[in-house]
């Protein structure tokens, strides 16, 4: 029914590290199935006790925190290959929510086997730590962006980061990506108001740097944008759980 790990289409991408046969066999045991969710489904809820572990197989989503005053901070855009739910397994409870934006397919892992993974597959445990450390690093970069950069620089930063991630997944064609989010989502990511996000996007479009319309984000000049945001563009290979 569900795809065995060695046939996982994501594993064919150069972006992801290869696994040994032994590791693949373990992952097959670790995997408990697949889950398909509709757009706007909340996959994991802030404060939830013992959620599951997932890898995104396809589709896009959002990770966010909701503040008591009703405001929302988007932490990251979720893309294929992202691992989610570890926080709920390692710590007491989830500290952010995860929501599907398009239809998504998720690979579901047995939470109870996480411990076995640490005991039997030190390589994979290391990979897990790598993923968390990388996520931590990304949040640090986002923090520096929101804390220290202007609106234009923030949007330039986001455009470059998004393009590079989509390209690494083979989801971009000629610097055009299908981008099914709302401007409010980007605004909540960058700590800007919706109106100001819209106006800043309009200016960048006028400057022929990015154009986001009708669900497509076109990044005309990633190098210039990277210069504006002074961001470094390497996308390292990464583990895939």
């Amino acid at each position: 029914m569900t795809t065995p790990c060695h046939r996982c289409p994501l594993r064919r991408l150069a972006l992801f590290d290869e696994l040994s046969d032994d590791q693949l066999a373990f992952m097959d045991k670790f995997k408990s199935g697949e889950l398909r969710v509709q757009p706007r489904t909340v996959i994991l809820m802030e404060g939830a006790r013992s959620p599951q572990l997932f890898t995104v197989l396809s589709g896009l989503g959002l990770r966010y925190k909701t503040l008591p005053n009703g405001r929302r901070q988007v932490l990251n855009f979720l893309m294929p290959g992202d691992f989610i739910g570890l926080q709920g397994a390692v710590m007491e409870e989830m500290q952010h929510s995860v929501e599907a934006v398009t239809e998504m397919t998720l690979c579901v892992f047995r939470r109870s086997e996480l411990w076995t993974l640490f005991r039997m597959q030190p390589n994979r445990a290391f990979d897990l730590t790598w993923l968390v450390a990388t996520e931590e690093n990304f949040l640090g970069e986002a923090l520096a962006t929101i804390g220290q950069r202007s609106a234009t620089e923030r949007i330039a930063w986001a455009s470059v980061r998004l393009l590079d991630r989509f390209e690494a997944l083979g989801l971009a064609r000629d610097r055009v990506i299908l981008f099914p989010f709302r401007q409010q989502d980007l605004a909540d990511t960058l700590g800007l108001s919706l109106v100001h996000t819209n106006k800043t996007l309009a200016k960048l479009k006028e400057r022929k740097l990015v154009d986001w319309s009708e669900g497509y984000l076109t990044v005309y000049d990633p190098d210039e944008l990277a210069r504006i945001a002074s961001v470094d563009r390497e996308v390292p290979r990464r583990p895939l759980m």
Copy 2:
């Protein structure tokens, strides 16, 4: 010469999880010595290749990223029990710098043994992952603070978080903590200008909520501050490497 792990004064604090004798013995082998550094020493440098791993034994420091435009984002205040340098060991290179603010004593670990830890001490590997996940969570909270809260709320948030961390370490007496940072450090943490930070602190002092003068931070009314920032105050027990 150096303290064996089972005599480590930090381990006596209720804040930190206890270790088995076996784990303590392993940590003693993992530990290569202690390092004492002077104020303003850069312990780890952004971009450095193969740095070492440390646990802070005493003293205070800062973790920060420097942007090419010269601005700086402080990611966190470093306190006893914090583990640093994993990023350089797990990923290619450090993505932020770490600097001592007071004199500090660091417990130094053999980077080469990190792999042994993952193979031989799955519990400790799990603890390491816990630490990184918690750090990630903290950065998410900081992101939500900078992205969505006003200057007053940001300072309220920082005051509460700092008080709670210092208290858990036994470094606070009656809501007063020795706080040897500069206002510029707090400003760079919260994404505010130095001047605005100063003026906002003055307002909070007038309201009898916090007073930061002559190197001491007095948090008069943590509950009210927690309410202002709408922040939740639990400090979970944590592993100590």
